[in-house]
């Protein structure tokens, strides 16, 4: 079983890769809308990628209002 720290790191790594950013350029408390300059649709694409990676289904309502990686990771962790 992953720890929340591991899940958070994996979320950050995957987001960096998805948006072609250098590894380590994202932090847990970063606001992904602002840091990545993405809109809500691109966020949904990232969620699909995360679902495939972690092998979970993350309903849309679970990520409603979430804008930082730490909270996103905690929502994923609760479904692992």
């Amino acid at each position: 079983m992953r720890t929340i720290e591991q899940t958070t790191q994996e979320v950050l790594d995957l987001a960096s890769k998805h948006f072609q950013l250098p590894p380590g350029s994202l932090a847990p408390d970063d606001d992904f809308f602002k840091k990545l300059g993405i809109d809500s649709l691109q966020t949904l694409e990232l969620l699909s990628r995360l679902e495939n990676y972690f092998g979970i289904e993350l309903p849309d309502y679970e990520v409603q209002g979430v804008s930082d990686f730490r909270t996103l990771a905690s929502r994923i962790q609760s479904r692992l």
């Binding site: 606001d31 809308f33 602002k34 809109d39 809500s40 649709l41 949904l44 694409e45 969620l47 699909s48 289904e57 309903p59 849309d60 309502y61 679970e62 409603q64 209002g65 804008s67």
Partner: protein, 570 residues
């Protein structure tokens, strides 16, 4: 299709539709790639009956207000119908608001019943606003686990009265809904809509874009949105068409839904339409040079043949692969909620996919103008719908002035706000606050806004005053938020931004610490409500005798500054 001129209320029309189209498929609900539910109109009626009965047994009476906070799904529409059946007033709320905003609107609307989903209720019940909405008597929660602690709420699925409930009649002038066009801050703007508003709007819209049994509407815009309520519920239902709901709006599932369900109509906001365009363009650009040349020739032929009006059958043959990706039966994409860029609309029309763009406001009962595609005009928002009187107030030398509208679809007013109603509806005319002009062929063109607000590409109305609470106690002498285009008027309906105007205390400056404070507060706002920069003022804000900021005077002062230099980005 029912003749709505014969009906007095939404409930009465829907009730007859459920009988008339009993064997037609009414709703399809899909979760990812699984069909979750398929209901005929008869099934729908059977699902709604025990709920209506239970609501009546719980004391629901004509005119009582009932709110729905749910994502798009069959239980949204079943609950709405049950509320209308009982003579209730529906309060459809945006499920994307925060719990605090939900409680505020629940109190403001005076709702006695709330229908919501378990994940939403979990958040609402855990927030501390419930005591502010003491008017709420009954909360119904869908899809809750049997053992869940519902904090006094009831399981939607368990609320089943037995026997036939009596239908409660309403008249055309009675209140049907309270729809919040925005204003979750200090001044909620609850549009009080009558049954007549909906009956008239639906007749006008379906005269141009009719539904019929067998047609399938893909419901993506939230059901609480005026557009989806009209073209994703009332419109298709009174024509016996099918509404498709997706529980997951990930792009891949939306894409799959078009061919899977052979979608006829879909409504999108401009942001989604633009993304769809980008995706298609990337696919076209990836074609080999030879295939690309053939494709471009076919597009040119399609353009020439559809110059005067769409020829769907022809376009589907010429550009078969593009149309197959959309299921091959798409009649039109309805785009609304915000302004669409003409080149995006033209892109789709050139592929033989008409985009029904238009212009509307919740206050006007959804749509005011719509493109009738005879011929397609991407550079305008179309002609007024039947029954709409549209004029330009005080036009300037270019013919541009404020768009004003009079029709039976105009709301009766803002709930509990006679002052704002009097400012907005003048001598029976709705003053839209949008600037436009008519071209010689009677098409309306829009050029910007007169009022201090923005509409995002996602179709969200943002009133700057509503965001100021997030900056409360900011350590500066005074501040207020503006739509940048309100200060520096632009002849544009896109790319609108918010700015924070600040007046410093003597000796104060924009330090890194203050900048961080502003950014941190900004990041707590939903992304579409965020400010893009700050404007520093060198004199105190003008205020009224009661110390309210005179926003219009302050905007005039700020307008003397050069926009590019004055707005400091965050």
């Amino acid at each position: 299709m029912l003749d709505l001129a014969q009906y007095e209320s939404i409930g009465a029309a829907l009730k007859d539709a459920l009988d008339q189209f009993a064997d037609e498929t009414c709703l399809i609900e899909s979760d990812r790639n699984r069909d979750k539910e398929r209901l005929t109109y008869r099934d729908f009626k059977e699902r709604a009956r025990p709920l209506s009965k239970a609501l009546q047994e719980a004391g629901s009476r004509a005119g009582d207000r009932a709110a729905i906070i749910m994502t798009n799904q069959s239980k949204w529409l079943i609950s709405a119908y049950a509320i209308f059946f009982c003579g209730g007033v529906l309060v459809p709320l945006d499920f994307k608001l925060t719990p605090d905003e939900h409680w505020q609107l629940l109190r403001h609307s005076g709702a006695t019943v709330l229908v919501t989903e378990f994940p939403i209720w979990r958040q609402l019940a855990a927030s501390d606003g419930r005591d502010r909405a003491a008017n709420l008597r009954t909360v119904l929660v869908t899809e809750a686990p049997p053992s869940a602690d519902l904090a006094g709420a009831l399981h939607w699925e368990d609320l089943r009265g037995t026997g036939d409930p009596p239908f409660v009649t309403r008249s055309r002038q009675d209140l049907a809904t309270i729809v919040y066009s925005s204003g979750t801050g200090g001044r909620p703007k609850g549009c009080a809509m009558t049954h007549e508003n909906y009956l008239e709007q639906c007749m006008a819209l379906t005269s141009i874009y009719p539904f019929s049994p067998g047609m399938r509407y893909l419901s993506i815009l939230p059901s609480n949105h005026a557009i989806d309520f009209m073209v994703g519920f009332f419109g298709p239902f009174i024509c016996g068409a099918t509404v498709v709901h997706l529980r997951t709006l990930r792009p891949e599932f939306v894409r799959e839904a078009f061919p899977k369900y052979k979608i006829t109509y879909v409504s999108l906001v401009p942001l989604v339409l633009k993304n769809l365009q980008k995706g298609l363009q990337a696919r076209f650009d990836a074609l080999s040079p030879g295939r690309r040349r053939i494709f471009d020739v076919l597009v040119s032929i399609n353009k020439a043949l559809t110059k005067r009006r769409p020829h769907l059958a022809l376009s589907r043959v010429l550009l078969k692969q593009v149309h197959e990706a959309f299921g091959g039966e798409l009649h039109a994409i309805i785009v609304g909620g915000a302004f669409s860029e003409p080149q995006t609309l033209q892109f789709f029309y050139d592929l033989g996919i008409p985009v029904a763009n238009g212009y509307g406001l919740t206050e006007a009962g959804t749509a005011i103008t719509v493109n009738d595609l005879k011929p397609f005009r991407g550079d305008t928002v179309g002609k007024p719908l039947p029954g709409m009187e549209v004029r330009i107030a005080h036009p300037d030398k270019d013919g541009i002035g404020e768009v004003m509208v009079r029709s039976k679809t105009i709301m009766s007013g803002y709930l509990d706000d006679p002052e704002l109603t009097a400012e907005t509806i003048v001598d029976g005319w709705l003053m839209t606050g949008d600037l436009g002009r008519f071209d010689p062929s009677g098409h309306l063109q829009l050029f910007g806004r007169k009022k201090n607000m923005i509409v995002t590409e996602e179709g969200k109305n943002i009133y700057p005053e509503d965001i100021e609470a997030a900056f409360e106690s900011l350590p500066v002498k005074e501040f207020c938020i503006f739509a940048a285009n309100y200060i520096w008027p632009q002849r544009s309906m896109v790319g609108e931004q918010l700015v924070l105007a600040m007046r410093f205390d003597s000796g104060q400056s924009l330090t890194e610490e203050l900048r961080r404070d502003i950014s941190s507060r900004n990041s707590r706002l939903l992304n579409y409500k965020r400010i893009h920069g700050v404007v520093l003022c060198d004199e105190d804000f003008p205020r009224t005798a009661s110390l309210k900021i005179k926003r219009n005077v302050l905007a005039e002062r700020l307008a003397r500054l050069d926009r590019a230099a004055a707005v400091v980005p965050l």
